[in-house]
Symmetry: C2
Subunit: 394 residues, 2 copies
């Protein structure tokens, strides 16, 4: 095994700074019901990193995920027996598992059919599906994944996990192959980023049903990604300083999606123009981010930040008009406003996370005071940066 | 003088329950600038009454307005001299004063040209303009106007004042004429309501520059009034119980109008669809109020109230997206929501007033607790009813 030099693979979290993982999530998860259509969105990667440490060798396959309390090992011969039973899937052409094969894996792991055992069950199932499909044959290894991201908060922790797993397993599958001699944006550490993102998408399908593809793209490529008509493309957006704020209010994306869908059916003549306004706002946010990138002077930067902050405010109000805000998010917005700062919800809304988008020269005292007040009110706050690198190898 | 039997004339306050004196005010005052067009709105009268007591006779003309600290009397001969200087305006045909005549009245009252001395100056000027234009010749009288309405809070206190004055002066002008023998919706206490409302509109023009006509119409006719394309028509809407809440935050309608106009120029593709959504919402609110009127069972009423409350929530969020909310209004909305109630701003926003729209069977404890909490936070709260009668005589 020559892959010991790949010790860590970091995947970044996707994140939406101005438009709408909120809106996006609602759109996407509800696509089947046709209630809320997928429109467009932007995502930024978040500098809270997920780290996978891959240690090939030994006699077992071991998965260690302290955040979801998984530390489990399988004798390699058991994994090989499963691999035989499934018809040696990875040996053929790194094809995704079929429905029937996934059912067999679920049995092997002792997981219930639907839902497959909560976040722990989904994490195990994602891992095995990728392991069995990507590797040409079972190999012993220990994979340990830790994350600075809170799980289940709408920050794309599952996508970051899937990107790390895909990259590590693709590396394990290619053991011995030399890193690509021509570095390009599409290749990192000898791996095709497109392939990494594609496998992560498969994993996301297990966790989310109908993911948009934006989360895995952002985690893979980093920076900012524009999502439109089902396609993700990287954006040249600048890093944005934010306070990421956890309301600690559990959200039910499913219930929120249903409520927005119901409001849309009830009041189409009100909700449709609001969605139009949000689309236009997303487009304008793209433009503003690009102006921020190319701003030549601090004054131009400040102007672009002022424009961005106005979009943040409007976005939050429009999301509230759809019914996806929450008292805890409105309080967050109020605390930020009291310090002259601009906040919006992120993720699906209805609790979960919000963020305060800072400016070039936001007074550190205002940020500290805002953060202190939020923490005193029971919020969890991280000061971080959007637009960080995607997949990196160490 | 046979008019001693007209002791009191009550004018009601206009009020907007679902759509938007907020939006309306912005539209109207900004019409000249062409930034925000007049669209449509509804207004409800508010059961906080303004009372005028007319006492004809004596040797003076006396005006007593305790709310704006006016208690002033003019010897009748001074008023007669002014009347001569102006070319005996009222003697002709109850025509409005010309600009030049208004300037002479201002001089007589010792008021500065622009602005003519704040609320006190405007109240004096309105009174004299109506007195000199409506009466066929100066007659001695004492007029005392008191109000349950806060002044300058966007509740139409100036319109209620103008309606009372117009009715009293028209009555004084017709001294001796018998009340109309055929009562109709257009006639009250022998006066044409249309004429009362028309004169009140003239007075509103002095105070507001470009009033929409909705405030004077609601104060005159009572109930609910629909305003569309410049025309007011009475609506068959049911009375609505509300908590009317004064944030005690002074608002600057002018600054708000300018800010909305600027946002609209900056982000037309975002703001125009929001205005479309608000128009659709106003239309839907009309429909819901009519359903509420015709609801045959408590269950149907509750359904209509639920629909109305949803519209209140959406309306507030859309107003916030235009930038006309305020921290004090958002806190009010938050307190109401914490008690399961629905609140929105009214008037121009940016402070001023908000209201909590109650339902058929809103639990009295929830209302009391909400009210208590608001008062503890420094808000001023009235529990009242929208859709009260307009002009009445006692």
């Amino acid at each position: 095994m020559k892959t010991t030099w790949i010790r860590e693979i970091k995947g970044n979290s996707p994140f939406s700074p101005v438009h709408f993982l909120a809106f996006l999530s609602l759109s996407v998860t509800n696509r089947c019901a046709g209630l809320v259509g997928v429109r467009e969105a932007q995502g930024h990667s978040l500098d809270l990193r997920t780290t996978l440490t891959l240690t090939p060798g030994g006699a077992r396959l071991e998965l260690d995920l302290p955040e979801v309390e998984i530390q489990q090992a399988w004798p390699l011969q058991d994994v090989e027996a499963l691999w035989e039973r499934l018809g040696r899937p990875g040996e053929k052409c790194a094809a995704p598992l079929t429905e029937a094969q996934v059912a067999q894996v679920r049995d092997f792991l002792g997981l219930p059919e639907d839902p497959p055992g909560g976040p722990r069950g989904l994490a195990l199932l994602s891992f095995f599906q990728l392991y069995l499909a990507i590797l040409p044959r079972p190999v012993p290894a220990t994979l340990r994944v830790t994350s600075q991201l809170p799980t289940g908060a709408g920050l794309g922790s599952s996508a970051a996990y899937a990107v790390c797993l895909s990259a590590a397993l693709l590396r394990l599958a290619e053991r011995g192959s030399a890193p690509d001699s021509v570095p390009s944006a599409e290749v990192s550490g000898g791996l095709s980023l497109k392939e990494v993102s594609g496998w992560a998408f498969r994993s996301e399908q297990i966790v989310h049903g109908t993911p948009s593809g934006i989360d895995n793209s952002i985690c893979t490529y980093g920076g900012a990604v524009s999502f439109k008509a089902g396609c993700c493309s990287p954006l040249g957006a600048p890093p944005l300083r934010v306070l990421l704020v956890n309301t600690r209010v559990p959200r039910s994306t499913k219930a929120l999606v249903a409520a927005v869908g119901a409001r849309r059916s009830r009041l189409p003549e009100v909700v449709e123009p609001v969605l139009d306004a949000m689309d236009a706002l997303a487009e304008r946010a793209l433009q503003t981010l690009s102006e921020l990138s190319s701003a030549a002077s601090p004054q131009q930067q400040d102007e672009a930040y002022a424009a961005l902050h106005e979009l943040v405010d409007i976005n939050q109000a429009l999301l509230a008009s759809l019914g996806v805000s929450h008292a805890s998010l409105e309080r967050l917005v109020g605390v930020a406003a009291a310090h002259g700062l601009h906040a919006k919800l992120t993720g699906a809304g209805g609790g979960g996370l919000g963020m305060v988008v800072l400016g070039r020269d936001t007074a550190p005292e205002a940020v500290d005071k805002c953060r202190g007040e939020l923490e005193a009110q029971g919020y969890q706050v991280w000061q971080t940066t959007l637009g960080a690198p995607g997949l990196t190898f160490h």
